[in-house]
């Protein structure tokens, strides 16, 4: 007797599942209108904290600023901090949104039932990244405009080169998000992991200061983090007129990191997913 399965999964059904996840995530995203506030407010207030601290450190007579210029060789700090914090915000949002996507389902009690459906399981993770990517592009656009008009940042570089850097950075940023989401399904302590990863980026990648300030061992660590190259490349592409030659090495490193993190993300997802099913922990929280 020929056995007939209840469903016959194929490319088309996988794509339908992916599309359903994308639609669901987008509906949830726009359901809470506070995202509009976040879109306009975060790009201003997050760098503002650091910019105002730098202003206070500069002093009334600018004596601190002179020291800063002598130490770092930079003439102004506003654009420098704005770009650094923007990249940090990107990685932070991906960690919370993509990294938390499966954990959120676990908390709501829908992960186990979704897992029982004959769908491509990676679609749950990939599907939640797509609306997130769209919202990130909106955030970057708004940030650029706000930095130019409110903070008077002079974007003397190339828009197309900046876009190229951002596109090249996507696999590293989201690959790390996938890996992170996979760890979180079994480890469950998502907050601690977000704090750890974003903390590493915050300290080692020079979001508010040149890496030359760091001790040698910290500079050595920073070379292994893709965000170091993203921050340097976006600063060079958007704020200077160095052109492609100024970001060529960063782009090469980002491509390598992208392949690495996507592969790690996918492998970890499969491994953790199998482990969570074996231990029966997928429905727990």
């Amino acid at each position: 007797m020929n056995a007939k399965s209840l469903t016959t999964p194929g490319f088309s059904s996988d794509f339908s599942a992916l599309w359903a996840v994308v639609r669901r995530e987008w509906t949830i995203f726009i359901r809470y209108p506070s995202w509009i506030i976040a879109l306009f407010i975060w790009p201003v207030i997050f760098p503002m904290g650091y910019i105002l601290t730098a202003r206070a450190l500069s002093g009334v007579d600018g004596s601190g600023l002179t020291t800063f210029q002598n130490t770092t060789g930079l003439t102004e700090y506003v654009g420098y901090i704005a770009v650094g914090t923007m990249i940090w915000m990107w990685q932070n949002i991906v960690l919370w949104a993509v990294g938390y996507s499966l954990r959120n389902e676990q908390m709501r009690g829908t992960l186990e039932s979704n897992w029982l459906s004959p769908t491509w399981r990676f679609a749950y993770l990939l599907g939640s990244s797509i609306p997130q990517l769209v919202s990130m592009f909106m955030l970057m656009l708004v940030s650029g405009l706000e930095y130019a008009f409110l903070f008077k940042v002079n974007f003397s570089g190339s828009l197309w080169l900046t876009l190229l850097v951002i596109l090249t950075a996507i696999p590293s940023v989201y690959g790390l998000g996938f890996a992170f989401a996979s760890v979180v399904i079994t480890a469950k302590e998502a907050n601690a992991f977000v704090f750890l990863v974003r903390g590493i980026v915050m300290i080692f990648c020079g979001i508010t200061y040149p890496l030359a300030i760091l001790p040698d061992w910290m500079q050595a660590v920073s070379k292994w983090l893709p965000q170091t190259y993203i921050i340097h490349a976006v600063r060079t592409a958007a704020l200077s007129t160095e052109g492609f030659s100024g970001v060529a090495f960063d782009l090469k490193m980002l491509a390598l990191f992208g392949i690495f993190w996507l592969a790690v993300g996918y492998a970890l997802f499969n491994m953790m997913e199998r482990r969570a099913r074996q231990t029966g922990a997928i429905g727990q929280y």
């Binding site: 809470y32 506070s34 503002m48 206070a56 450190l57 600018g62 130490t71 601690a192 300290i203 300030i213």
Partner: protein, 283 residues
């Protein structure tokens, strides 16, 4: 015929409910030990970029430019103190606003609301664990922060604690109103995150508020927390104050009464609205 209510709430039953709430949150918090440990280091990670940035503005470890605004060249002690006080402010924001959102998401909000417990007690219960944890983590933070970045406090600790009491009670009043807004909008993350961050910036946790551009200074001066932070720092590390210390204390006491009154009234009114709309069980 005499009717007998299903429950007869008394002070003792309220205290039992409060204890149950605190126990539940406490158990839940320590159930995830990594999260708990990371909360000690999290604020230190936030200030690490400021430390390195400050190094770039300093000569021989002294931030001369910074002292022109604050009255001290020891910017790391200034920032560490600001971060500790900010943690308490965040404990109220997250403890009340976010805890209600958690209850909504887990589907227990409506059933909790049906119990014969004063609703403000539920909010207080949710914030107590956060405050206790914050007190413990703050001590850890000062010890580790002191070792890593250096912390030198030569002032009177007891005198420094005095402005904290009215500041925290006033914050509770604010927290009541804030929790009611979360209940109405059914969204907490952005609200809690943005509001606590703005308060952090404008109350001067990372820099003296007189370094703000002139048009932003009134916002800082309108926040009572600014005076709380200012008074604690002046007492502990001898910074310049915005107003004479006794005036700052009086302002904080007035703030405490006003905020407790406004917060309670706002909570009662918005909570009634949410019940009328029937959205209590939704998220």
């Amino acid at each position: 015929m005499q009717t007998q209510p299903l429950s007869q709430p008394t002070l003792l039953s309220h205290l039992r409910a409060l204890y149950a709430l605190i126990r539940k949150d406490w158990k839940q918090y320590w159930r995830y030990p990594l999260n708990a440990v990371s909360s000690v280091f999290q604020p230190l990670i936030w200030i690490a970029p400021i430390y390195f940035m400050g190094q770039a503005f300093s000569e021989n470890g002294k931030a001369i430019g910074f002292s022109q605004y604050s009255g001290t060249t020891d910017f790391m002690s200034f920032i560490l103190l600001g971060t500790v006080l900010e943690s308490f402010i965040n404990a109220v924001f997250w403890g009340m606003g976010y805890a209600l959102k958690n209850d909504m998401d887990s589907g227990v909000m409506e059933s909790n609301w049906l119990t014969p417990i004063p609703r403000l007690l539920i909010l207080i219960g949710h914030s107590v664990t956060n405050l206790v944890v914050t007190a413990v983590t703050s001590i850890g933070m000062l010890v580790f922060g002191g070792l890593i970045f250096g912390f030198n406090a030569s002032g009177d600790v007891l005198k420094a604690l005095l402005p904290i009491i009215p500041m925290m009670l006033g914050l509770y009043g604010f927290g009541f109103a804030f929790a009611a807004v979360v209940m109405l909008l059914r969204e907490a993350n952005t609200l809690v995150d943005v509001s606590s961050f703005l308060v952090q910036i404008f109350s001067g946790s990372n820099f003296p508020v007189n370094a703000l551009p002139r048009f932003l200074l009134p916002v800082a001066l309108a926040l009572p927390l600014t005076y709380g932070l200012d008074a604690v720092r002046a007492n502990l590390i001898g910074t310049k104050t915005i107003l004479p210390l006794q005036w700052e204390l009086i302002l904080l006491i007035v703030f405490m009464f006003v905020m407790l009154w406004i917060g309670t009234a706002t909570f009662r009114s918005l909570e009634r609205r949410v019940r009328t709309l029937g959205t209590l069980g939704q998220h």
